[in-house]
């Protein structure tokens, strides 16, 4: 038998699932092959580690309480009470994801509407905004892209705008968009 074949059968060999002749062949191979013998020992050691693993003991009181809880939910309940209990558990489980989706959708719509409103009240102009504005009004995108004028936005203004975009965050981050007005200086 080759080492490759022996190692592929090692699990079944250790588990005692092979035929007598296969077992004898592997026995002979392991007697002569150090590498395969090492793999066998590792496999055995893994099983020992798993089987002897220390687990926390919750104590006898816990198991007494569990029995009481189980009986309260089964033997001590009538069939109709059990049905009603199950229905209330199932419906609360079904409701939660639906409401989470609803809130996320509402937050996304609110964010979109706010972004549209802010965009609409700030005119897009190619002219240079007044020097005392906290943030320059946005020029048209095309003008900005083609402009060599680095004074369209100062570094501080760029940082403020980036911070505002980061603060807005992804859809569903309810509340963060509320700070946009502060960032953009419209407050």
């Amino acid at each position: 038998m080759t080492c490759h074949l022996v190692q592929s059968l090692l699990d079944d060999y250790i588990d005692g699932d092979l035929t007598a002749s296969q077992t004898a062949e592997i026995d002979s191979h392991l007697a002569l092959c150090t590498r395969c013998r090492e793999e066998q020992l590792k496999s055995v050691k893994l099983r020992q580690l798993l089987a002897s693993r220390a687990l926390p003991d919750p104590g006898p009181q816990y198991f007494t309480e569990v029995t009481e809880l189980v009986l309260a939910r089964t033997v001590d309940m009538t069939d109709s009470e059990q049905r009603a209990f199950r229905e209330s558990v199932d419906s609360s489980r079904n409701r939660a994801p639906f409401f989470r989706s609803l809130i996320a959708a509402a937050a996304s719509i609110a964010l979109f509407v706010t972004a549209m409103y802010v965009g609409s009240v700030r005119p897009m102009t190619a002219e240079a905004p007044p020097a005392d504005s906290r943030i320059r009004q946005a020029t048209s995108m095309v003008a900005m892209l083609h402009s060599d004028d680095n004074r369209v936005m100062t570094d501080a203004e760029k940082l403020r705008l980036t911070s505002g975009m980061v603060l807005i965050g992804p859809p569903g981050m309810v509340g963060r968009y509320a700070d946009m007005a502060t960032v953009l200086g419209t407050k």
Partner: protein
């Protein structure tokens, strides 16, 4: 004289609540420790134990084969554990700190007294094994636990997981290979 399990199951299926109580006593620890190893924390293990017996109670009229009751019970527990694993959020997969567990908690290692250093070593090893198990997909994990920890045969595991025996062998082989790789330092053979 204590009733044997088949008699208890027969009586339970016939509606005997005392038989059900006795079955809960007899099986709850096994289900708890299996769930604990699957899920890695007391809260989830507790949920699995309770839910398993509640479901068994509800399905008592469907139990046909008394001889396979253990497989039936284990199947409910493993399926629920796998569901919880897939939804697991927030509950750590690392073992609980013994101080957080209810009752008189102690790490049950063996019947002999262990020294503090040994206890610490065991805790470290236990956490390492739990981390390694946590990397396995649910079905591979439960297969390895049922076979190498709980001592189920491959045939029994196939019944529990409702899959062919060949699938059990395959999952077991892959799980062991992965665990060997992760725990290789622990498995190093000293000359």
């Amino acid at each position: 004289m204590e009733d044997n399990i088949p008699e208890l199951i027969e009586r339970f299926c016939g509606g005997d609540s005392h038989a059900f109580t006795e079955l809960v006593h007899r099986y709850q620890k096994r289900i708890y420790y299996l769930a604990y190893q699957m899920l890695g924390n007391h809260l989830d293990a507790d949920e699995v134990v309770q839910e398993t017996f509640v479901r068994v109670y509800r399905k008592r009229k469907e139990i046909r084969d008394v001889a396979n009751f253990t497989s039936f019970l284990t199947r409910i527990a493993t399926n629920y554990s796998i569901d919880l694993l897939r939804k697991q959020k927030g509950h750590s997969q690392l073992p609980d700190d013994p101080g957080d567990l209810p009752g008189d908690v102690q790490v049950e290692l063996s019947r002999r007294v262990r020294q503090p250093d040994d206890l610490l070593q065991d805790k470290v090893l236990s956490e390492e094994i739990q981390r390694a198990l946590a990397t396995l997909p649910p079905r591979q994990k439960i297969t390895a636990l049922l076979h190498d920890v709980e001592g189920y045969t491959k045939t029994e595991i196939a019944l529990v997981l409702d899959c062919p025996e060949a699938t059990v062998r395959s999952n077991l082989h892959i799980a062991r290979k992965k665990l060997k790789k992760i725990l290789q330092k622990r498995l190093a053979i000293k000359e």
